[in-house]
């Protein structure tokens, strides 16, 4: 639906208008978007991989706490990060500020996937390298890192998609990316065709990146599960100090500062009696929308992922890329596309929660597809063949073999969509039923009048609401023993 909206509007663009867009705006937007995405990718890789390696390869006091500290920033929306940091310091602005904020907000994706992969690596490979006299650094670059490549490629894809589609942080820090330009074109100048033209360029750009990512991990399918989970060396003395100063400084900027800010202002709000029944209504609305969207995305992603994981044809890859379009398009465009489509073909549904849930599902479907496909890739085909030779029909093999084996992937699919849907702003703003305010909407409304402090309870509630989801994913990420 959103894609059709973009195409039909872009088709109305005359050649001269295209030309004007190309020469006047696109080169700069392209440069900004790519620079931002590259820096954030590099930043999240450095922070994510180093922290993941520390908790996966070293044993130290407070390791499990550290894991939580590295994942929790997922619950803080980029616009909250940006709002807090811009109000704390005037030096957070522009490109550097956006890289800083988006790195803090999205390194947990890299951390999660890198850690899961590190935990799943077999001990024997590193041991073999060690016994053949390979020095530690080389062991990391020549054995550990290459084995991490599929996980890192997936993580970077998620980070780049988030960065390119981000609206909250770039609009506050005013970095002219495609998403922001499209939003201004549409919302400020009421120029849908120009916006659609820009969207089309953005889609092509992002699909290129996604295809590159697939290309890089094309031949990298590791079916083997770790026979023996890797060893964690106990850390002591100076090493312990280093570990905690790295993890501590990351946690300080990514978690302690925003959380501290939220606690201070929530205390103030509680003292003023600002947390009333209305607030609990926002919380309930947020939960309802995010849960429904996460379930819908989980179910809808299954056929796509199954199809691609087993068939691996051009058609299946196309289906996969098409499913990604929702994420590649900026939120406001998805929202407007859904709005137009629903009004045209399903009028009576308009204004109901269903429309919002549908838009959220479309937007975040790629996350669940990605997670489920990654899980399917790890299922050795011989298991299914064995099941079939023992007389299991398709439904039975799905129920008894495939689904149980991809439980971790299903959990990840649910959690990623749930957390993103909790925080989602542009589509929610446009498509929610009248008067149906979510926590994210409240944060936006208060900050639009420069009264973000009033929204501290809502921001804190988002973090609290994410806790069960994060617990689920951390539990699923643990290596299965025995």
């Amino acid at each position: 639906m959103p894609l059709a909206f973009v195409l039909s509007n872009a088709a109305q663009l005359a050649w001269t208008e295209w030309h004007a867009l190309w020469s006047a705006r696109i080169p700069r937007l392209l440069l900004n978007t790519l620079v931002l995405a590259s820096w954030v990718a590099v930043g999240t890789m450095v922070v994510g991989v180093s922290t993941a390696w520390l908790v996966a390869r070293r044993e130290f006091r407070g390791r499990s706490v550290a894991i939580w500290l590295m994942v929790l920033p997922l619950a803080v929306p980029t616009y909250v990060f940006a709002n807090i940091y811009t109000s704390l310091s005037a030096s957070v602005h522009g490109m550097a500020g956006a890289v800083f904020v988006l790195t803090l907000a999205s390194f947990p994706y890299v951390f999660l996937l890198a850690r899961a992969a590190l935990d799943g690596q077999s001990r024997s490979l590193e041991d073999a390298a060690r016994s053949s006299g390979c020095p530690p650094l080389e062991r990391f670059t020549r054995v550990t890192l290459p084995l991490l490549r599929p996980a890192l490629a997936a993580a970077v894809a998620i980070v780049v998609l988030h960065t390119v589609a981000d609206f909250g942080a770039v609009s506050l820090l005013r970095v002219q990316t495609f998403t922001l330009a499209i939003y201004h074109q549409m919302s400020g100048r009421f120029d849908y065709q120009g916006a659609a033209g820009l969207s089309l360029v953005l889609i092509v750009l992002t699909l290129t990146l996604l295809i590159l990512e697939r290309f890089f991990r094309r031949k990298q399918r590791y079916y083997a599960r770790a026979a023996a989970p890797p060893r964690r060396q106990p850390a002591r003395g100076a090493e312990l100090v280093v570990i905690w100063s790295v993890l501590g400084s990351v946690a300080l900027f990514a978690l302690a500062v925003p959380l501290g800010w939220m606690f201070v202002w929530t205390a103030e709000a509680l003292a003023n009696g600002a947390v009333g029944p209305a607030f609990w209504g926002y919380t309930r609305n947020t939960f309802a929308a995010a849960t429904l969207a996460a379930i819908a995305a989980l179910v809808l992603a299954l056929p796509v992922a199954l199809y691609h994981a087993r068939r691996r044809s051009a058609a299946s890859a196309t289906a996969l890329q098409l499913a990604s379009v929702g994420f590649v398009l900026p939120g406001p465009v998805v929202a407007l596309g859904v709005l137009v489509a629903v009004i045209a073909v399903a009028g009576p549904l308009y204004g109901t929660l269903f429309v919002l849930v549908a838009a959220l599902t479309i937007r975040f479907l790629p996350l669940s597809v990605q997670a489920e496909e990654a899980a399917l890739q790890q299922i050795t085909p011989s298991v299914l063949q064995a099941g079939r030779s023992l007389g299991a029909g398709p439904i039975e093999s799905l129920r008894r073999l495939v689904l149980p084996m991809m439980r971790g992937g299903l959990t990840a699919a649910f959690v990623f969509v749930f957390i993103d849907a909790l925080k989602e702003l542009p589509a929610t703003l446009l498509l929610r039923p009248v008067g149906f305010d979510t926590l994210a909407v409240r944060i936006w409304v208060e900050s639009s009048e420069e009264m973000l402090e009033l929204a501290a309870p809502a921001a804190l509630m988002l973090v609290v609401a994410s806790l069960p989801a994060i617990w689920l994913i951390l539990r699923a990420g643990q290596p299965t023993r025995g």
Partner: protein, 348 residues
């Protein structure tokens, strides 16, 4: 293997379709049961906490419940346009005359009864009388009272002078008030003058533009900046919390040969497809009443637009202020030019 997958997929798709059908049916059923007493629906681009006390008072007086649907003014206007006859909005409220006039030009609003709006000066209303301004704000300078040289400041064009380099606070040019102000200057003084001004502003602000007006006022009060370009109410918001802050308002461009202060209004319109036009008109009448005007303006230390309603007494006397001579209905038409200028100069 292939057959397994294909059968699986068919069943999964069927399952998904059924799930969605159930969800859709449930959603429709919910909507049907959710409409007991038709509330008046207001799309508000003005923060709903400024509007809520007013809405509650209206409900108490008239017995008509009000639902506030908050969002960004431009986005809500987009929504109104795309929704067409399907809209549930009865009223549209915006903080910016420019978006209201675009709504009028797009034919999204219904005529307002002249009897209702004639108490408001004509340049605070739409050309076809489909929207009416409710409260006004001024684009002013805030200065630190203990800094040197600020007494000589009497025009927004002074702040482009190189002597304020590093001492000036302005918001990013993405800010709607910034764009509206620039539109006024460009309309009255011409393209070249506006461009020179903007270039000077860019030099003086350096790369450190602010995301928020409130931060500019706070930094001027703390002495980190000497002068800032802001909407007047941010200064009073700061003074509410810090009554002793060393800051002062300068209402710029008041001389005989100067253009007057740039002005913008928040206003209201009735949706063309309003289901509840009578109640909507009753609401407009209420916000234009003495009580409604004061509540609406005082919520944010703004000036009531209706002649004869007194403003908050801490504000500079509105009768003594010379306002830039540009009908607010013109703002919308000037907006694109202002944005193009911003892009050309590369104002951060």
């Amino acid at each position: 293997m292939r057959i397994i997958i294909i059968t699986l997929m068919k069943r999964l798709i069927l399952l998904a379709v059924i799930l969605f059908a159930v969800a859709a049916a449930w959603a429709i059923a919910q909507e049907r049961t959710l409409t007991p007493a038709e509330p008046l629906v207001i799309y508000t681009g003005r923060s709903d906490q400024f509007v809520r006390p007013l809405a509650e008072r209206f409900t108490a007086q008239s017995g008509i419940p009000v639902t506030l649907h908050a969002g960004s003014a431009t986005e809500l206007l987009n929504k109104l346009r795309v929704e067409g006859a399907r809209t549930s909005a009865d009223l549209y409220l915006s903080n910016d005359a420019g978006t209201l006039q675009i709504g009028e030009d797009e034919g999204l609003f219904a005529q307002l009864p002249l009897l209702l709006t004639q108490t408001v000066p004509a340049n605070y209303r739409g050309r076809d009388n489909t929207w009416v301004g409710l409260s006004a704000r001024a684009r002013v300078l805030v200065v630190n009272t203990s800094a040197d040289g600020v007494d000589a400041l009497d025009s927004v064009f002074d702040i482009a002078d190189p002597k304020w380099a590093g001492k000036l606070g302005v918001t990013t040019s993405a800010n709607e008030s910034f764009v509206a102000g620039l539109s006024v200057y460009q309309a009255l003084l011409g393209h070249d003058r506006a461009e020179r001004w903007l270039r000077g502003l860019r030099e003086n602000a350096g790369r450190e533009v602010y995301a928020k007006h409130g931060a500019i006022v706070a930094d001027v009060a703390a002495g980190r900046r000497t002068v800032g370009l802001v909407n007047h109410y941010y200064i009073f918001r700061h003074l509410n919390q810090h009554p002793d802050a060393p800051i002062r308002v300068i209402v710029p461009d008041q001389g005989d040969d100067q253009i007057g202060v740039a002005w913008n209004v928040a206003g209201i319109a009735i949706s063309r497809h309003a289901r509840n036009k009578e109640a909507a008109e009753a609401f407009v009448a209420f916000v234009l009443s003495d009580e409604g005007q004061r509540m609406f303006a005082d919520a944010n230390a703004e000036y009531p637009t209706r002649a004869g309603v007194a403003a908050d007494e801490r504000l500079p006397d509105p009768d003594a202020i010379k306002v830039a001579d540009l009908s607010l209905a013109e703002l919308a038409a000037r907006r694109d030019a202002a944005i193009e200028l911003i892009d050309k100069v590369g104002m951060p």
